[in-house]
Every structure is written in structure tokens, then in C-alpha cells.
């Protein structure tokens, strides 16, 4: 049992949106029976639930180390952001899915258990709890969870939805780099990958961007991400090729050209790098809020 949903705004109405309670296309029960079980110790449902989904994603999990990463002794619980951060530390891409049962079902169908935040108390006396959905049975209207000290907790769907709603319908999956969510929101996926890259997990980010390029061919953000990670990994030739590919269709994507300049600089081609920045500065108005950035880049590259 543990705490903290942050400032979740809760609604008081009793019914559930069709979108939330629908099983989607699910006709038969689905259950990921082989999902590992980490019985929680007192208050430590955060580490236990995270260990469960990390293990399912193929990561090496040590519950004790995980507890140190996500458990806040003073508050007897874990924060969602820490679960996300700890997943990144395990070279995984944490992705917050839509707060609907059909999104959960889609992930289960793809073989991924879903970590959820529940409030087992009431709004004015919350008892926050993290658990992992491993199965859904539309025939008996039941949700199957790894929860607390129970290896296989079976809860009526309606009861679960009430506790989940009080947890803000928060749910996440842990993606091995290269896997795409079952029902991906493109921008949210890219944000998740960008966070992995920003926290220094470059190999994982690189694989995840490539999966994005495969899923959404020609998408500017995905290509930009791939080039960015390639550069960070020192794969300059590839970074250059991808930035140039991107600029061939979107010549005005100034951030890409700015970064191309740095890729050229890294390869000892300073004159070419400065030419790219000059190209930008020739096309950007004096009042543009981003002009200063490229002026800084010019000075920066010229000074190196």
C-alpha cells in the first residue's frame, strides 16, 4: 500500500464513460499467467509493482535495489515520476497509456502487463496502491491483478474501475527499447523516448527512435530523434545522413539544420557548419523568438 497521486482532480459521478469501461474487441479472457510475482513488504507496493512489469519486459530486476530507487521511507510510498525514472534506469521506455480498459486490454494482448495506480480508500482518506493488471475476463467481468501479497487477485471490473478512477486512471507499461505501445499516441510516445534520451540512456533511445521511424515513416520528430541519438553516440555519418534526409523534405526545420551544423563540426568541417547556420540566419526574421539561439550557435561554432 502506498501513496501519492500528485494533484489528481477527481470527479464525483458514479457512472463510467463507455470509453473507459469497454473491453474493446476482447471476446475471450486474456491472462499473462507467467508474469512474475513480487510480494510486497509493508507499504512497498511501488517497488513490487515496478519489479513485476520490469521483469516482464526482460529487464534484470533486484527488488532491493529497486526499493532504494523508488521508495520514499518518509512518506511510505512511491511517486509515479520515480517509477518512470527507475524504468528508464533499467534501459526501458516507460509509457503512460490511456486510462481506459480497452487500452489495458490492448497491452495485455501484446503481452505486456499494466502497472496501475489505485486508491483503495476514499477521496478524503486516500490509500494509494500500485498493482499490476495481468488479466481481464469479459465473460465474468473480472480483472486479474498481481497485488500486494496476493499472487492472483481477482476483482469485479466495476470495483476495480472505482479504485482506478480515484487513482486518476493512471496506468503505465514498460517497453523494451524498440517496442511500440499497442495503441500509441504518437506525440506521447516521442515524449517518452525523448525523456529516455535526456536522462542519458542513449542506446535505448536510439533503438526507440528507430522503432518510431519504422512505425511512422518520414515523421520529422522520429527522424530528428534518431539523428540526435546517433550524434550523441558518435555515429556522425549516420546523423548527418538522417538530418539531410529530414531537411530534403523540410528545409525550414531550423533545429535540424542547427544540429546538422554541430554534426559537421564534430567531423572537422567547420566551414560547412557555419554555412548551415548562416543559411538559417538569412531566413529568420529579426524579431523571431528563436533567432538568438542560432546566433549563439554561430558564435559557438565560430569560436571552436
Amino acid at each position: 500500500m502506498a501513496l501519492l497521486g500528485g494533484a489528481v482532480v477527481l470527479s464525483a459521478c458514479a457512472g463510467f464513460d463507455e470509453n473507459v469501461r469497454s473491453y474493446g474487441v476482447l471476446q475471450a479472457p486474456v491472462e499473462l499467467e507467467r508474469t512474475a510475482f513480487y510480494p510486497q513488504e509493508r507499504y512497498q507496493c511501488g517497488p513490487a509493482a515496478l519489479a513485476t512489469v520490469l521483469d516482464a519486459s526482460g529487464a534484470d530486476v533486484e527488488l532491493e535495489a529497486l526499493t532504494g530507487q523508488v521508495y520514499l521511507p518518509g512518506r511510505q510510498g512511491s511517486l509515479q515520476v520515480e517509477l518512470l525514472a527507475a524504468a528508464r534506469a533499467h534501459e526501458r521506455v516507460p509509457y503512460v497509456i490511456d486510462g481506459t480498459l480497452s487500452a489495458v486490454v490492448a497491452e495485455l494482448d501484446a503481452g505486456r502487463p499494466v502497472l496501475v495506480l489505485q486508491n483503495l480508500g476514499v477521496d478524503w482518506f486516500p490509500q494509494w496502491h500500485y498493482a499490476v493488471i495481468v488479466g481481464v475476463d469479459p465473460l465474468t467481468d473480472r480483472i486479474i491483478l498481481r497485488s500486494g501479497t496476493e499472487r492472483r487477485r481477482v476483482t469485479p471490473t466495476r470495483t476495480f474501475l472505482h479504485t482506478w478512477r480515484r487513482g486518476g486512471f493512471w496506468a503505465m507499461v514498460v517497453l523494451p527499447p524498440g517496442e511500440i505501445p499497442a495503441l500509441p499516441d504518437k506525440v506521447r510516445y516521442f515524449e517518452s523516448v525523448a525523456a529516455v534520451e535526456a536522462t542519458g540512456h542513449l542506446e535505448s533511445a536510439y533503438a526507440a527512435w528507430q522503432a518510431g521511424v519504422d512505425r511512422w515513416p518520414g515523421d520529422a520528430t522520429a527522424l530528428f530523434g534518431q539523428a540526435s541519438a546517433a550524434y550523441e553516440l558518435g555515429h556522425y555519418a549516420e546523423a548527418e545522413a538522417v538530418y539531410r534526409q529530414l531537411l530534403s523534405t523540410q528545409p525550414d526545420l531550423h533545429p535540424a539544420r542547427n544540429n546538422l551544423a554541430y554534426v559537421l563540426l564534430a567531423q572537422g568541417r567547420k566551414a560547412e557548419a557555419l554555412a548551415e547556420i548562416r543559411w538559417i540566419l538569412a531566413r529568420i526574421a529579426d524579431g523571431d523568438r528563436n533567432r538568438e539561439i542560432y546566433e549563439d550557435s554561430y558564435r559557438d561554432i565560430a569560436g571552436q
Binding site: 534520451e197 520528430t221 530528428f224 550524434y231 533545429p255
Partner: protein, 127 residues
């Protein structure tokens, strides 16, 4: 708009503003990260949403009743930071669902007013 209604909007707005302090635009000279690129795209999307909202005839009419043109509001929006636009969007989202024009306009004005009053604009301005 009732007083308690106003209070709720204010509280929410301030909470959002505080949370959003962590975000900054491009952090000076160097390579631009995908995270920064996405923030830029998200900003463009939000601004487009606001433009669409202000283009609604009932909204524009109500603004006019207050003696403000949609252009004037957009001018303000253009000069807002990402965090401020997010605050504005969140405040509007709370009301657009119900479709109550007065509430939407109220939210717009309130956010602009609060940002002005508490000097958030100056705190956030990094350009």
C-alpha cells in the same frame, strides 16, 4: 461565474504555473534536443487550438461585448511562454467541455490577468 468558481480556476492556474516552472525553451547555444523540438511542436498545436477557439463566432462575439478583439488576445498569446500557454489551455479545457461561453471567456481573462498580476510573465520570460 460564481466566486467559488473563480477561486477554483485561480487555484488551478497557480498550481499549473508552479509546476510548469521546470520547463524552459531551448537552453542556449548548442545542439537542440528532441525534447526541445517536441515542446516547440506542442506549443504550436496549443496555439492553433486557441486560434480555433477564438475564431468561434460565439466566443468572438462575447469578447467583443467585453470590448476586446480576438486579435488582441492572440497578440498576448504570441508573447506568452510555453508554460503560460499550458496554463491557459488547461483553464480553458476545464470549461470547454461544458461549452459555456461565459466560463471560457472568464477563464481566458482570468489567466491573463493572474499572469499579469503575479508577474509570472517576467519570471518565465527567457527570451
Amino acid at each position: 461565474m460564481t466566486l467559488s468558481h473563480l477561486t477554483r480556476v485561480v487555484a488551478r492556474t497557480v498550481a499549473v504555473a508552479i509546476v510548469a516552472v521546470g520547463f524552459a525553451p531551448y537552453a542556449g547555444a548548442a545542439v537542440i534536443s528532441p525534447q526541445e523540438l517536441i515542446q516547440d511542436e506542442v506549443r504550436a498545436e496549443r496555439v492553433a487550438g486557441l486560434v480555433a477557439l477564438l475564431a468561434r463566432s460565439d466566443v468572438a462575439q462575447q469578447l467583443e461585448n467585453y470590448g476586446v478583439s480576438a486579435d488582441q488576445v492572440m497578440e498576448r498569446v504570441d508573447n506568452m511562454t510555453d508554460a503560460e500557454i499550458l496554463a491557459l489551455n488547461n483553464a480553458i479545457d476545464q470549461h470547454v467541455a461544458g461549452g459555456d461561453v461565459l466560463a471560457i471567456i472568464g477563464a481566458v481573462f482570468l489567466v491573463l490577468l493572474i499572469l499579469e498580476l503575479v508577474g509570472v510573465t517576467n519570471i518565465f520570460s527567457s527570451f
